[in-house]
């Protein structure tokens, strides 16, 4: 089976105006404008197989959104190739646009003053959906996203979370085979984030759609994507399973002990790097390979009431990735 998304040496540079602050610089820029080139996406290559969910990770300005915009045909690349469902995205063929969606947490397609249903009807006509297919899609999405109450209210009167759900539904009415989700949970409360995550998982399971998503919330990535692609300054730093990312950039475990009585910090430091310590709770970071033997020794040698062994938080792992690159 061929990849749904195929990216080869994709490059996107932007020309941006560049000038210092102040009146003098302002006057100088009237005569001569200075521009500099920003490498938003810098030679990235990867494939995404049908039905896969891939998390795109990177700090602000890493090039994640630009990559998604290229793959959905909004932007033309500076160089390189890409195909999505065997179409070149930026040719923006009707057959291509009918099979993909790009949902951006910070951009909206819904008519602000009208109920979301009005936008749905526009999409029904524009995507050429038959009545039966439209009704089926609306029923599925209303069920998955609990939309009954929302669809007939003007969009401006919806909460941020309700609006995001309606946006998702509007973007999925045509049952796209490939979904690009850019920060789908941004600004939402924890409960709503969880709902959107559950929805994406169920949508993927129900329809077999291929999903590429970016998020600032590590919980999104952890819950949704087994595979992650990490980019920074437009360059691809890592592409593989989430567990592999942890192994490569943070190959250690955190052992947290609840002690029956306080012990000397120096006694605990003998087992590894002490991350935190108070009276009876201590966290120690130790090499992953030695985690089992260190745990056994601690149980034997310290007055342990309870113990847990965890992978480092994903936020820490990502921080390690970018920290290492920067240094």
């Amino acid at each position: 089976m061929s990849a749904d998304v195929r990216v080869r040496h994709l490059v996107k540079h932007y020309e941006v105006a560049d000038r210092e602050g102040g009146l003098r610089a302002s006057l100088r820029s009237v005569v001569r404008r200075r521009h500099r080139s920003v490498r938003a996406v810098d030679d990235i290559t990867f494939d995404v197989e049908p039905g896969e969910i891939v998390g795109f990770l990177g700090p602000n300005g890493a090039g994640k959104t630009t990559a998604l915009k290229l793959l959905s045909g909004l932007l033309h690349p500076t160089a390189g190739e890409a195909t999505v469902l065997d179409f070149t995205p930026w040719e923006r063929r009707r057959e291509f646009l009918s099979q993909i969606t790009l949902i951006m947490g910070q951009r909206q397609q819904l008519y602000w003053d009208l109920p979301a249903l009005d936008t749905f009807l526009v999409n029904k006509a524009v995507f050429g959906l038959e009545d039966a297919a439209y009704r089926e899609a609306v029923d599925l999405l209303v069920g998955l996203l609990e939309l009954e109450e929302i669809l007939t209210k003007p969009v401006r009167q919806l909460s941020l979370g309700e609006r995001m759900k309606a946006e998702l539904a509007a973007g999925l009415l045509h049952r796209p085979r490939v979904l690009f989700l850019d920060e789908p949970t941004i600004g939402l409360d924890v409960t709503m984030q969880q709902r959107i995550r559950d929805f994406v998982t169920r949508y993927n399971a129900t329809t077999g759609a291929t999903i590429l998503l970016t998020s600032h919330y590590m919980a999104d990535v952890k819950a949704l994507a087994e595979r992650v692609i990490v980019i920074d300054h437009g360059k691809l730093l890592y592409d593989g399973p989430l567990t592999g990312l942890i192994d490569r950039y943070a190959p250690h475990k955190t052992i947290t002990l609840h002690l029956e009585r306080p012990v000397d910090r120096a006694d605990v430091a003998a087992y590894g790097e002490v991350v935190s310590a108070d009276d009876v709770q201590v966290s120690v970071r130790t090499d992953k390979a030695q985690a089992a033997s260190v745990t056994a020794r601690m149980l034997a040698e310290l007055p342990v009431a309870d113990l847990s062994v965890e992978d480092p938080p994903l936020e820490y792992v990502i921080d390690q990735v970018f920290h290492r690159r920067a240094s």
Partner: protein, 266 residues
């Protein structure tokens, strides 16, 4: 044209109409503003002409001209620099680009919806003014029959040229400034500040060739029977030529511009 395109366009038109009905007061005020300028021109020319005539226009002719002008200038209004250009700059064009229907159709739907909603307020004003001013009118039936095609071409040229200026937003954040220059030229050469026949020789010759007259003044002249015979045929041919040229310019600018989308802040 594929039926899906037409169905998509019709549904966009319905949604844009519904959306604009939410802004009734704003629309009414815009509508009122559009009536003010022609009334000023009408008053000035009626005063200047007195009981004589200028280039074949007496007082009644000027009144008639500006009454028809009110309708034509509204129906040929281009709003794309205020709608499409900002959406290119801010990235709000993206959702429309992701649909399998060219954003051109959405711009067209918005243009038509805007005019249709405003008509609710303008038609009673136009009728009221016509009843108050009661100009003598000797109808030219051929002109009246040809007014509709000429109006449709005028509205198309205006929409397409407006869209071309909006496309400048792919390159610059100041597309509005270029549009202002164009509007100033239309004011003079389009038959706004005065009917083209009243303009001095050189300007009149320029107006016959350039597109501005064909977006406003020409359909008024056609409706009032001011152009006849070969001049009428040539005018309609030039108007058709500008419609095709404006469409071609739009296609070229869109194709070049869309490659730069995202470059100016989107």
């Amino acid at each position: 044209m594929r039926s899906r395109t037409l169905a998509g366009f019709a549904s966009l038109l319905r949604a844009e109409l519904a959306d604009l009905f939410q802004y009734r007061i704003e629309m009414f005020l815009y509508g009122l503003w559009q009536v003010v300028n022609p009334i000023i021109y009408l008053v000035i020319w009626s005063t200047v002409v007195g009981s004589g005539d200028i280039a074949g226009y007496d007082r009644d002719d000027f009144v008639l001209y500006y009454l028809v002008f009110m309708a034509v200038s509204h129906l040929t209004l281009a709003i794309e620099v205020y709608t499409m250009a900002p959406s290119i700059q801010t990235g709000r064009l993206s959702p429309h680009m992701l649909r399998p229907l060219h954003p051109f159709w959405r711009a067209g739907a918005l243009n038509i919806a805007y005019k249709a909603v405003n008509l609710m307020f303008l038609v009673p004003i136009w009728i009221g003014l016509a009843l108050i001013l009661r100009p003598a009118f000797d109808p030219d039936w051929l002109g009246i029959a040809l007014f509709l095609p000429s109006m449709v071409m005028a509205a198309s040229i205006s929409f397409l040229i407006g869209s071309c200026f909006a496309m400048f937003a792919f390159w610059t954040t100041r597309s509005m400034s270029f549009w202002d220059i164009w509007m100033s030229l239309t004011l003079l050469l389009g038959g706004q500040v005065a009917p083209v026949a009243v303009l001095p020789g050189v300007l009149q010759q320029a107006a016959v060739i350039l597109p501005m007259r064909y977006t406003v003044g020409f359909p008024i002249e056609v409706a009032l029977g001011r152009v006849q015979g070969a001049e009428l045929a040539a005018g309609l041919a030039i108007q058709a030529g500008w419609t095709v040229a404006a469409m071609a310019a739009f296609v070229v600018l869109w194709r070049a511009g869309v490659k730069r989308y995202g470059a100016v802040g989107a």
